[in-house]
Amino acid sequence: MTNRILLIITILGLLTALSVTAQETLHKNGNAEKIKGTRFIPYPGYSGSPYLTDKFIFGEIEFLDGIKIGNLGLRYSSFKDELIYYNAVISAQIIIDKISLKGFSFTDDKGEHRVFRRQYYNGLLHEERFFEVLSDGKVSLLVYRKVDLETCDTSYNKFGLAFQPSFYYYIYSADKGYSPLKMNRSSLLSKFNKPNQKLVKKMLRKNKVLIADEHSFVAAWNLIKDKEIEIIF
């Protein structure tokens, strides 16, 4: 038995040795992927956070031509809808040119992988926006993680201004565009016709999904998405 194992190992070793081709050496240009951007100027110290994450998190960006750069310290500014990265070589916080990006992703403190993609929003304030992809498919579930600067009591902030989260949820498909959505059961059901609504209700009940927040809404959405029920919007 030992001999057989030895023979198999020898054969495998031989095959591996023959199939491994010479590893090409690449005198890589260290700055092959040049990130373009402008210097980030910190926001005034109002209450609340203008950022999605408390600190810079290592993540990956993808350019329009498909080139990806990973292991970059990233921070998303929800206030200005900008992606900031930290360039350690020149010790600078740089806002990456939005038009050069296809999207970015990172894994947050809770271990959740979060994917953002740049899309044109054709609503009232039509512009290029970074949307977080909560669920992807023919019809995607997106959220625009906006933070607004609003007035507040001066006891809360001496300037009388505070950053307030104001997230906008949408379902999106390339041919139908955006349709706003709220993170509750009735908003979800409104996207289906009457017979399908019953089906959805039954499905949620059967799987014991109670829509109370964003997390449970996404769980419900993914459940329905798999069944390929027609969505009306």
Binding site: T25, N31, D65, A92
Partner: protein, 537 residues
């Protein structure tokens, strides 16, 4: 134990047996005999395991000096292209060399080019390579060519059908190359191989041509460490790249998604501005391996006669301004829709305003946030930082037609008439690890960046990157009054292999022998061919 050893031996033989495949490029030209001023068409079949994505085709004289350099992208181990043979070439044998940066085997094809003004010299002798390591193709009998009569009339329509047996069809890899071109017995092109030792640590040209070189200290000639090399490609949307050199002073740039001949400017800079640098490109102008043993060869009377006829035919084609090929323009990536220095804060066109004599006046009157002054004849340039509402301390990135410049005297005399537009960025811009305190990009009316002088630190040249595809022109039937002196009647370098391939072509006014040839590669890497000769009278 013996049995096990036998199994191992058999396995080894089986696996190594696979390595008996073609490891060189096979190059084929449309003809063997050319006249200077004509276009040479070529087809290349690459080896199966070729890692490079770019193949270089060089036209060399018998001393190995490069006359024309072409770079082509390899797709499915194949490529095709063309070479304009310069009018100035003297009559004689020339070599076409096919190479990549890493392949240790060079393929040479020997062709004869006759100068269209002098013809073949009176002496009647020439030298030709007497290399013995020649490449031979495998004729394939299973492939059938139908419909080609032995003789055809000039200017007649014809059809031919290629029948590929199912077995051969299943073995064919990639596309077939089909051509019908003039052939003559006076001269036959030969293909031979030469082995070289490629440099170690060579970068593989996967997606584009690589331009490499060294930055040296002008005074000492030593490699310069931590130098910055700028690459500028002037265009309506200029391209830019940079490289920070290491201890060896080496730099390289890869040109992906570029087609044709592009203007390139390379600059070397000492970030501390203490030393003058010299840029040395690693771009040899000859291939020493090409110099092979040559033998004297007497040009036959028949070849002289054919060459004389060819010259006449080409002269008439030139009089009627007849082109042999049309070049298809390559597509550009949409990703570079804005310049490397960012979307400008403002773009100023000076033409709607009154004529201003110099750049000081232009900056004062027309450019918001730009301060160009020349106190005591020393010019200075500053840009406003719009976020902080103060002027940046350092000078901004100044570009003329997309090329960074450091000598402000160059722009001092630019008036309204010289400038097409000025783009300004009033923020601190970053490009990789480079930071610019604002940007002033001047686009001149001439757009020829002639104001920027060449020096040891700055080199300007045109670089042939990936040659675009070309199609053979077939003259319209309506142009009956014009002569038709095509020597290539059909050129389909990427014909999809099918059981039946129908070919339609039209003979020209040229009389003589023509050859229909079908070439392809099989999955084992070998090149096969089938040919049929017919006469046009």
């Amino acid at each position: 134990m013996k049995r096990k050893l036998l199994i191992l031996l058999l396995l080894f033989v089986a696996v190594t047996g696979k390595t008996q495949e073609r490891k060189y490029f096979s190059l084929f030209t449309d003809r063997d005999l050319y006249t200077s001023g004509e276009t040479l068409l070529f087809k290349i079949f690459g080896p199966e395991n070729e890692s490079a994505g770019i193949v270089h085709i060089d036209l060399l004289n018998t001393s190995g000096k490069k006359i024309v350099e072409i770079n082509k992208k390899i797709t499915d181990q194949q490529t095709d292209g063309f070479i304009y043979l310069p009018d100035s070439l003297s009559s004689g044998c020339y070599l076409l060399c096919t190479s990549t940066r890493n392949n240790p085997t060079l393929t040479f094809n020997q062709i004869y080019i006759c100068n269209r003004f002098t013809g073949i010299p009176e002496g009647g002798t020439s030298i030709r390579s007497s290399e013995t390591r020649t490449v031979t193709e495998k004729p394939v009998n299973e492939l059938e060519i139908e419909g080609i009569d032995k003789t055809r009339q000039t200017r007649s329509k014809a059809q031919a059908t290629i029948h590929l047996p199912v077995k051969l069809l299943s073995q064919i890899k990639g596309n077939l190359a089909v051509s019908i071109a003039e052939t003559n017995s006076g001269y036959n092109s030969e293909s031979f191989l030469k082995s070289i030792k490629p440099k170690e640590d060579q970068i593989v040209e996967k997606d584009g041509v690589i331009l490499e070189g060294f930055v040296k200290d002008l005074k000492t000639g030593e490699p310069f460490k931590n130098g910055i090399v700028f690459l500028s490609i002037p265009d309506s949307i200029p391209r830019f790249n940079f490289y920070k050199t290491g201890a060896d002073g080496y730099f390289n740039f890869q040109f992906d998604n570029y087609y044709g001949k592009i203007p390139v400017v390379i600059q070397g800079l000492d970030p501390e501005k203490k030393r003058l640098l010299k840029i040395v490109l690693n771009h040899p102008d000859s291939i020493p391996a090409a110099i092979s043993s040559f033998e004297n060869w007497t040009v036959s009377t028949e070849l002289r006669k054919i060459a004389a006829q060819n010259i006449e035919a080409l002269t008439f084609s030139k009089i009627f301004n007849q082109q042999e090929i049309t070049i298809q323009s390559g597509s550009r990536p949409k990703a570079e829709a804005y310049p490397f220095y960012g979307v400008p804060t403002s773009v100023v066109d000076p033409h709607p305003f009154i004529d201003l004599p110099d750049f000081t006046e232009i900056s004062r009157e027309l450019l918001p946030g730009v301060k160009f002054r020349a106190y005591n004849r020393i010019p200075s340039l500053q840009v406003l930082n719009s976020a902080m509402r103060t002027y940046f301390e350092k000078a901004p990135l100044l570009l003329i037609d997309g090329i960074p410049i450091h000598d402000l005297n160059i722009i001092k005399t630019l008036g309204s008439k010289d400038i097409d537009r000025v783009e300004i960025c009033l923020s601190e811009r970053f490009y990789g690890d480079l930071a610019f305190q604002g940007v002033v990009a001047i686009y001149t009316s001439k757009s020829n960046f002639s104001r920027i002088a060449e020096s040891d630190e700055l080199i300007k040249f045109n670089l042939d990157v990936n040659q675009p595809a070309a199609i053979l022109i077939i003259p319209s039937e309506k142009l009956q009054n014009e002569p038709d002196f095509r020597k290539v009647l059909l050129w389909k370098p990427s014909q999809k292999p099918e059981e039946t391939v129908r070919l339609d072509f039209q003979t020209s006014d040229i009389r003589g022998n023509f050859k229909l040839i079908v070439r392809g590669t099989t999955s084992d890497g070998s090149v096969f061919y089938k040919e049929q000769i017919f006469e046009v009278n």
